[in-house]
């Protein structure tokens, strides 16, 4: 019969999700799956995602691919979908608990954070001891990606994250502060300015994603500090990798949204045909789509690729 699937992303505007949608659409076409895509109005808009889930159930879809904005809050609604016999797959952002989805296709976000954290530490060398670090996070509700990357960075950088499930309970004096960006340029710029006002000597910036990093860079540029600050990020989209090449971003953990999307569509197709559910990566509770550090200033302790190679593997 006709297999239909849903893709529900956080927003329609982050290039990451734009690519994810393109990838999913292409794969769906290839496999003869009907795909409908939905998104929240802004990062953090969970209600629109709930309505989308319900529509998918009503529409008789066989499965849902979702990047959840509210990783805890959305769980009961997805349970309804699973109860109705749909396959629920989390993309990019794990749910809390992670087994609220049938499977998660995602970057190992903790690792992504650790990679850039460690890179920053090694790049600074001795100066890492009295670095001034700013954290540009996602939304007030602290969804799982946000926590994993933020706390991962700390671990990599050598900051005690205290409760690794909570942002903001740390007491390391090197932390200037946390601010939220909503994962976009405007939020990135304002958050950067806010933290600069707290401490103009900031020299390391962790950003949740590349749009936020781009905004942060503009803020630094406008006060003439873009040369003395190390920005690290996660995404590895083509614009981001170019930013690495241009020196706006020091290093970024590259993710593979197209893979998440196509794996997701394949899984739904397979589930529809055979009833079989996808399996996680060995030793993990999700399917790891991989992560690679992209930088033109490699450090010995981490395997990384340069921007030329990064551009080959980038998306968007």
């Amino acid at each position: 019969a006709d297999v239909s699937a849903c893709l529900i992303t956080k927003t329609d505007t982050n290039p990451f999700f734009v690519k994810m949608k393109e990838g999913a659409t292409a794969k769906a076409k290839e496999l003869g799956v009907t795909l409908k895509s939905y998104a929240g109005k802004i990062d953090g808009d969970s209600e629109s995602q709930v309505a989308a889930i319900e529509t998918c159930i009503a529409d008789g879809a066989k499965g849902i691919l979702i990047t959840a904005s509210d990783t805890k809050g959305i769980v009961p609604n997805l349970k309804k979908a699973r109860d109705a016999g749909l396959l629920v797959i989390a993309l990019d952002t794990p749910l809390e608990p992670i087994d609220a989805a049938d499977m998660t296709f995602a970057t190992d976000n903790l690792l992504a954070g650790k990679l850039i954290g460690q890179w920053a530490k090694d790049t600074l060398g001795d100066a890492a001891k009295d670095a001034k670090v700013a954290f540009l996070d996602l939304t007030p509700s602290q969804p799982s990606v946000d926590i994993l990357r933020d706390q991962g960075f700390m671990i990599g950088f050598g900051i005690d994250p205290k409760d690794p499930n909570k942002i903001g309970d740390e007491d390391d004096p090197r932390i200037v502060g946390h601010d939220i960006t909503n994962g976009n340029e405007e939020g990135g710029r304002t958050a950067m300015e806010n933290l600069l006002q707290k401490d103009p000597t900031i020299n390391v910036v962790h950003t949740i994603n590349e749009p936020a990093a781009a905004g942060a860079y503009e803020a630094l540029k406008s006060v003439g500090r873009e040369k003395d600050v190390l920005i690290v990020s996660v995404d590895g989209g083509c614009p981001g990798v170019k930013n690495v090449a241009d020196g706006a971003i020091g290093a970024t953990s590259q993710q593979y949204p197209l893979q998440m999307a196509s794996l997701g569509i394949e899984a739904i197709k397979k589930f529809a045909d055979t009833g079989e559910k996808p399996k996680p990566t060995e030793g993990k509770n999700f399917f790891d789509t991989g992560v690679t550090l992209v930088t033109d200033k490699p450090v010995p302790s981490i395997k990384s690729i340069d921007t030329k190679e990064g551009l080959k593997k980038c998306w968007g």
Partner: protein, 359 residues
């Protein structure tokens, strides 16, 4: 007492009036045209326009999408999706009928739900009591709005704009952004999820939240049309000074309306827990805009004194029908927003037309 003077006009020239007709400036009545009669019908039934639009859009989407849309399941899903907007919209309707506006409805709803959740879990109160505390919170927020508007006489737009920020910030500060998870609620305080419980009638799935919305609107309809409080609410919205002088306690009315609005928002907060399962301090970000949209599409005048709460419910349902319909068609959601924007403007233009022409 001196004898009353004789009642002859002091000005001679007025004597002639004895001969003129005694009518107080009377009306001329041309034969009304069919169009005019229709307009008049629409005017005297303020919820008719939105009902017609609702039925027509149901019909059109039904024709286009067939069984997928026209199933008991889908149709009841629309009800579930608009339940929260409908409840908040009821609060908004009352306020707007007094020529006010309440931008803080969403914030009050969320704060109330957070109080219900946190009081149960952080302080270990029996959930019933926690729910009561949630209602008290809602009432209190409404009371502050009401006092600032009625007593200090500040414009509702400003007061509720300020309260929106204040309540939302308090909500984040108080909850420290913590979500209470559905599983936990289910295990320890299932009553918080009461309005999320479903029952089936054939293929139709109803939640108690849907029932709550329908009952609420019905009760308010009765109150607005068949009790003195309701008539006074319209009078206050129509012309507060006139209402005051003709014996309505305008300040008390306004305060009671904002308190009631707060209480209804708390109810919405409770229903929100049912709908999303968890208690999330970031939920409900668009409740104010959505409720205003429902009210406007439902034909309630922003200038107060006119409109029916049934219209608001139809308005909310229209938005629900369009959203689900377009979503099922697989169009970009942005088309839905665009269409709703157009609908808002057209609804008010139609209302204007009806009102102008039906005199």
């Amino acid at each position: 007492m001196s004898e009353p003077v004789a009642s002859t006009p002091h000005n001679d020239y007025e004597k002639v009036l004895k001969d003129s007709s005694k009518d107080v400036a009377s009306f001329d009545h041309d034969k009304p045209s069919a169009l005019h009669k229709f307009r008049h019908f629409l005017h005297s039934n303020p919820s008719a326009v939105s009902l017609i639009v609702l039925v027509v859009s149901l019909f059109v989407f039904g024709m286009t999408l067939g069984g997928k849309f026209f199933s008991a399941f889908s149709l009841t899903l629309i009800l579930q999706q608009v339940a929260i907007t409908g409840i908040v919209g009821a609060a908004q309707s009352l306020v707007i009928m007094t020529a006010g506006i309440d931008l803080s409805v969403g914030a009050i709803m969320v704060l109330s739900s957070v109080v219900m959740g946190q009081f149960s879990f952080r302080y270990g109160l029996p959930p019933e009591l926690a729910i009561l505390c949630g209602f008290i919170t809602g009432a209190l927020c409404g009371f502050i709005n009401g006092v600032l508007i009625a007593k200090v006489k500040l414009p509702p737009f400003i007061v509720t704009l300020g309260m929106w920020q204040i309540v939302l910030a308090s909500n984040f500060l108080y909850s420290s952004n913590e979500t209470i998870r559905a599983q936990e609620i289910e295990a320890n305080a299932p009553i918080l999820q009461f309005f999320g419980e479903t029952f089936r009638v054939g293929g139709a799935v109803f939640t108690y939240g849907v029932i709550a919305m329908i009952l609420l609107v019905a009760v308010l309809w009765y109150v607005l049309n068949h009790t003195a409080w309701g008539r006074h609410l319209y009078a206050v919205g129509d012309d507060p000074e006139a209402a005051d002088l003709s014996g309505v306690n305008v300040q008390r009315m306004l305060i009671s309306v904002y308190v009631l609005s707060g209480v209804i928002c708390a109810l919405a907060g409770w229903a929100l827990i049912g709908r999303i399962g968890s208690v999330s301090p970031t939920a409900g970000q668009f409740a104010n805009i959505e409720s205003i949209t429902a009210v406007v599409i439902g034909g309630i005048s922003l200038f107060g004194g006119r409109g029916s709460i049934l219209g608001m419910m139809f308005g909310a349902l229209i938005v629900g029908v369009f959203s689900l319909g377009l979503r099922l068609l697989g169009t970009d959601v942005q088309w839905t927003y665009l269409l709703i924007g157009v609908l808002i403007i057209v609804a008010v233009a139609a209302d204007q037309w009806i009102r102008k022409a039906s005199r």
